[in-house]
């Protein structure tokens, strides 16, 4: 993992993408790109190198679960840390995310401290 990991923020709401990007910047991560759904995200992931994915679940075209499964099924992408940031608070979704290989799960609304804690924890594990 590089000292300045490159993040991909995936959310269909531009407001939330912007909030996550700004929070990452405040935490100390300035390198981030955005995608509005899973399809765009997957194309970006395949065409460029990213070190971390922060993704919503409910999105048009391809949702966060489908994106997660696609990432984990792709030999070149499967090792990328994947953090779910979503309004879905159902236990079924949380378990589903974990079983499909998500490295963390944050429910909206969340705080800067929560995001920082989860991101740092995942980055430490992926050294």
């Amino acid at each position: 993992m590089t000292s300045d990991p490159r993040f991909l923020i995936v959310d269909d709401f531009s407001t939330m993408r912007r909030i996550v990007r700004n929070l990452l910047k405040e935490i100390g991560f300035n390198n981030a790109e955005e995608a509005e759904d899973g399809v765009v995200a997957l194309n970006l992931l395949k065409s460029s190198k990213f070190d971390f994915v922060v993704s919503d679940i409910n999105m048009p075209n391809m949702d966060g679960f489908a994106l997660l499964k696609s990432v984990r099924a792709d030999e070149s992408l499967k090792g990328i840390p994947f953090l779910m940031v979503t309004a879905e608070a159902k236990k079924e979704d949380i378990v589903n995310a974990a079983q499909n290989g998500a490295n963390g799960y944050i429910v909206k609304p969340f705080t800067k401290a929560t995001l920082e804690e989860k991101v740092q924890k995942i980055l430490q594990k992926h050294g």
Binding site: D11, F13, S14, T15, M16, R18, I19, N22, L23, E26, N58, A87, E88, A89, K90, K91, E92, I94, V95, A98, Y105, I106, V107, K108, P109, F110, T111, K112, T114
Partner: protein
Amino acid sequence: MGHSDGFGLQQATDSGTRSSKPAVAVWGDMSKLPATIEAPMESGSNQERTNGADATAAEVPGGGDIYHRIGQLTRTLHDALRELGYHETLADARSNLPDARDRLAYIARLTGDAAERVLNSVDRARSVQDEMSGRAQGLQTRWAAVAAYTAKGERATPAGEALVADTCAFLDALGKQATQTNEILTEIMMAQDFHDLTGQVIRKVVELAQTLEDQLLKLLIEAHPVETRKSAESGKLEGPVVNAEGRSDVVTDQAGVDDLLASLGF
């Protein structure tokens, strides 16, 4: 495929691949509603449906005339709605749904625009704050040097020394206040997540309104209540939990997420 009537309902037709009985599942002119009604067949093979209907009829005591009774109930409901003037209300409700959708979309757009404006303002304020903070830090370093110089051998008047000390203290406080201001700006920025959360709810309500618009009167004479329930469940709205009270299938906060994942060994 049928055609739309005055209520916007799909008039059921007998395509030949469906039951040979007269297709009267969905009605345009409710005054022509017969006392007996046949179960609508939306999909699936005729044989399966016929078998299913027979099975249902067989399972229900005296179920042989179940559709007759449903027809009577429908007639009663229709008469009641007409007497109460509700069938016009129902038609009005349906015709008003597109307007309701537009209004919700309008709210979503406006709140989205407002959130973006706030975020733009936060970015500008943060930029101004950072610039001021940087300049204050530069001045603080220079004034600290002046303070060190004047402290040696009475090189400044008491008033001058006090001025230097006050200026240094002010610049120091300015730096701390900049940090506080940035924290407040972060809070303002985080508060804009309402747009994402409310937007998801609005989107689902708009979808629901669309479904209601298509199905409103059809549901009144739906002859398969069990299937209707299944359909309703499968179409349950996703998105933010707006009321978690009494629900065991959702978590209410981040601690709940962490506990659940920990219990699963993650």
